[in-house]
């Protein structure tokens, strides 16, 4: 089954979209959680239960939005792509491998889109699950550290794909995360 899925993704250029959706949505997930964390910090309300519930609620919403949004979009785009192919060949491709490959790719991309933002959010707030062992403030700082590490890793991943300097690419993503932290922290001055 794994080989079938790989073949289907190769046939529909699905790997390219898979990487794109994974990075974009993991990036969104991490930055959203940075916003939640800084928000709790500047309002002096770093309560583990609150942080976990807000993040999970936001993560689940992003999961639903990402999964179904991508499913509907990809389904429409791939239907059009198949119709264009049928026009070029003057043939019906409804029983061809392309129809099945499109279905598989749409499903995989939808799941990856939804899961990447949810998993990134959960990973970043994971220190808050251990507040019986560490203080909320320590959990906060570790979470921020995890968020920046995730962004750096995503940058390295992008750098590997584009065959550019990977650490520079990671560093660029780190700067974006830092800007997000600084901007949201400015709200604390209001």
């Amino acid at each position: 089954m794994k080989k079938d899925i790989q073949k289907d993704l190769q046939l529909t250029q699905g790997y390219e979209n898979l990487r794109r959706y994974f990075v974009m949505n993991a990036f969104d997930g991490v930055l959203t959680v940075i916003g939640i964390l800084i928000g709790t910090y500047i309002t002096d309300s770093i309560n583990p239960s609150v942080v976990i519930k807000i993040t999970l609620a936001t993560g689940l919403t992003m999961f639903v939005s990402g999964t179904f949004g991508t499913f509907v979009t990809e389904k429409a785009e791939r239907k059009k792509s198949l119709r264009d192919m049928e026009k070029a060949l003057l043939a019906d491709l409804q029983t061809s491998i392309f129809k099945k490959a499109n279905k598989t790719t749409t499903l995989i991309l939808s799941i990856v889109d939804g899961l990447s933002s949810l998993m990134a959010s959960i990973l970043v707030i994971s220190p808050f699950f251990f507040t019986l062992l560490i203080s909320s403030t320590t959990a906060f700082y570790i979470s921020i550290g995890l968020a920046l590490t995730c962004l750096f890793s995503l940058g390295i991943f992008l750098g590997k794909i584009s065959e550019e300097k990977i650490f520079l690419s990671g560093f660029k993503m780190l700067i974006i995360g830092t800007i997000a932290i600084l901007l949201t922290s400015l709200l604390g001055l209001i």
Partner: protein
């Protein structure tokens, strides 16, 4: 092998760019009765490739060949050569035959 077995097919095909030539040839070559497959691309545009397929075997099942090609989204343009029988007969070359003349050149 039956007396009326198809031994060789030469087909003009049109395939989408996305279909792999390697996968198509592999899938055709494992069909029972087929000994070998040769696919040559002779034209290409933005979305499609035109190819000539030469298939040889002891008893080629044309319906199975068509079904396999359909799965890959490959369209059969024309059947250019069919050789059937107990032995494989090559096209005879007669000097007066214009088509043969071109070949001889």
């Amino acid at each position: 092998m039956p007396n009326n077995a198809i031994r060789r097919l030469v087909i003009d095909l049109l395939k989408p760019l996305e279909s792999s030539l390697i996968d198509i040839s592999k899938s055709l070559s494992i069909i029972e009765g087929i000994n070998g497959v040769n696919l040559v691309v002779y034209e290409m545009d933005r979305k499609t490739e035109t190819l000539k397929a030469t298939i040889e075997g002891d008893d080629i099942n044309f319906e199975k060949v068509k079904k396999t090609l359909d799965e890959f989204g490959v369209v059969l343009h024309s059947l250019d050569e069919v050789a059937a029988g107990k032995i494989l007969i090559e096209e005879s070359q007669i000097l007066s035959d214009k088509h043969s003349l071109k070949r001889l050149k």
